[in-house]
Symmetry: C2
């Protein structure tokens, strides 16, 4: 990965999906100065109903790619697109890929109509509420521990100019007192679906010097900064809701994805400096601590407010908002920017981070993706 | 590739997209006897609005994949999904992939709303009519040559139990006399969007013996038959309509894709025994002859009714119907079945085919994919 740009997330505008996508894609091409004629693949991540998006965007930005298509898989569409681009490059079919996430707030990804097994529980709020209830009952996590995650992420979002909740000042009492959506889940513990865009440029490691030499010398402020994708884990164990509940409290998708990624990167959880954890509901961040191996099973509640690892420095999904097909890409951009020292977001680390991890879920954790990135 | 199944194409039913997909996916798993716990990726190709399709289908068929997402890119979604699966395997992230194409006749892929550059020409019929007009005027192709392609494909579809036009008996006079849709394009030269499903199983070459040993001995009629994907070409030059016209009569996407594929497979057009050519309109098959190097530029009209290469043995898109996200996969299944001697479709060859080629376009040829397969 040699560049990444996330643009402002918004609650919703009348911009069309192409214009939303162009915001981050054009800025990324400008910032990196990457020559358009060397881009081999354009992959769009979006749950939008609009068709032929990657080719339309490619033409507008002036790229004629070999590979061009859309990928979607609900909330981990973005990391799936990154892994697909990685595989095009690792297989030798491509040397470079532009990955663009774009979503409107009225995306098709809000509707979960096809999986009848979710029955009346077809809205994600039910999933969050059940997970929270089980974790409190089974492991004794407290309401305060879980709600503190939301507070932490709102605080971090205040220094992120792209977050939809950047002007919210929320304390623990406010989260605890916010409207109960589904007992015990409260309004301020939940993310909002929003509009946004985020783009990444991925290249083959061994082509770094070649591509760098192609950045023309008159583009003074442009740069390619290498961050390696060292570990990839992706697992889908089920799609139906009854299995989802069993899965997320057992050897679930995200846990298996983490194991795959750590094995590929040849590192362990203690090597991680910075993490983006999928906090669509605050309880999911606690499950993330456990699945990523930062805390033992059931002990995620006690890991809140630790200082060992910088977590969700951009403000997480609760603080930033959740443009469905964009989130995984925006998470990777945040890790990239932290690793290369570009962002001033709220990191508690007293050292420069070298290893970052992305944890991205879909559909109540029935799919989980983990990426390990190193500077 | 070790197996492929296409199920009956239908004009449209009230079946939902999951049930349509399951038809071919379950039959493929049954026919091959491939153990579900060894399937690393499930990739769905569809322009359906339904979300999380790959994971829902994976769960129903009993697969827990590492990689699971949907891919779409209008009419060449199917070959894009195959190439993506190929790259997951070639990159080492996966050893096997189940690729499932499924489409309903009211798919979102019928609407081309996002690309404003097509203006009033936002329906594919305009594109076919303009291509036909230019080819006749510029190269002197005759109405009879072009319409004969439709006749040939209707005849071949008669021996294909999955084709929507399997009971149509159409002669040249009928095509010539059929209703003019947009001058000079006639009704019987155009494909119909339809419902259908087609699935493929792809594995790493070097794992063939391993996977074969995993087919339990009590599954007597099951078999894995190896066909190699030797060449891959994919190119997107533009998305806008004005460029599409220039492109398809110059060094267009499909021609560039063919060159990439021939180079990778280290063969030339004269080595090809059997071809699936994207005949959404009859004129596109003539352009296909030229782009694949079977005929010189402008001479595609004189290549109709040749006997050197078996073309569109299943009846092409005109004869079979066009389930948008399925077509590229169904084309590859046809080549697979011809190469392994499984199909009795109307092939004019007096020899067993060894080399097959798939030519799959999207959006008036603004994207083109070419796959070369060898037995």
């Amino acid at each position: 990965m040699v560049g990444g740009v996330t643009c402002e997330f918004r609650k919703g505008t009348d911009r069309d999906i192409v214009h939303i996508a162009l915001e981050s894609a054009l800025k990324l091409l400008k910032d990196t100065g990457f020559p358009r004629n060397f881009i081999d693949a354009v992959i769009v991540s979006s749950c939008s109903p609009d068709q032929y998006l990657s080719s339309i965007i490619a033409e507008i930005v002036g790229v004629k790619p070999k590979i061009s298509h859309r990928i979607d898989n609900l909330c981990n569409s973005g990391t799936n697109a990154i892994i697909s681009a990685f595989s095009y490059i690792a297989s030798g079919l491509c040397d470079s890929a532009l990955i663009i996430g774009a979503e409107k707030s009225n995306t098709l990804g809000k509707v979960f109509s096809t999986d009848f097994s979710r029955g009346q529980y077809n809205h994600p709020i039910f999933w969050g509420s059940i997970f929270k209830k089980i974790h409190m009952k089974k492991y004794g996590s407290t309401e305060e521990q879980i709600c503190q995650i939301a507070v932490n992420n709102y605080i971090k979002a205040r220094s992120n100019k792209n977050a939809i909740n950047r002007s919210n000042s929320v304390n623990l009492q406010q989260v605890l007192n916010s409207r109960v959506l589904i007992e015990p889940l409260k309004l301020l513990e939940c993310c909002s679906i929003c509009e946004g865009s985020s783009s990444i440029l991925l290249i083959a490691d061994e082509k770094f010097s070649f591509f760098k030499s192609k950045i023309t010398s008159n583009k003074r402020n442009c740069e390619l900064i290498p961050v390696l994708i060292k570990g990839i884990g992706q697992q889908t164990n089920c799609a139906s809701f009854s299995n989802a509940i069993t899965d997320i409290f057992a050897e679930g998708s995200a846990r298996m994805a983490a194991q795959q990624a750590y094995k590929m990167a040849r590192i362990s959880p203690k090597d991680v400096d910075i993490a983006e954890i999928h906090d669509a509901f605050s309880i999911l961040e606690i499950l993330g601590y456990e699945d990523l191996g930062f805390a033992n099973k059931g002990e995620g509640g006690t890991f809140v407010n630790q200082n060992k690892i910088s977590i969700n420095s951009r403000g997480g999904i609760i603080g930033c908002g959740h443009p469905i097909g964009v989130t995984g890409i925006a998470q990777a951009v945040e890790i990239f920017e932290q690793l290369v020292g570009k962002q001033g977001h709220n990191s508690k680390l007293n050292r420069s981070p070298n290893v970052g991890i992305v944890h991205n879920l879909a559909a109540a954790g029935t799919s989980g993706t983990v990426l390990i990135m190193e500077s």
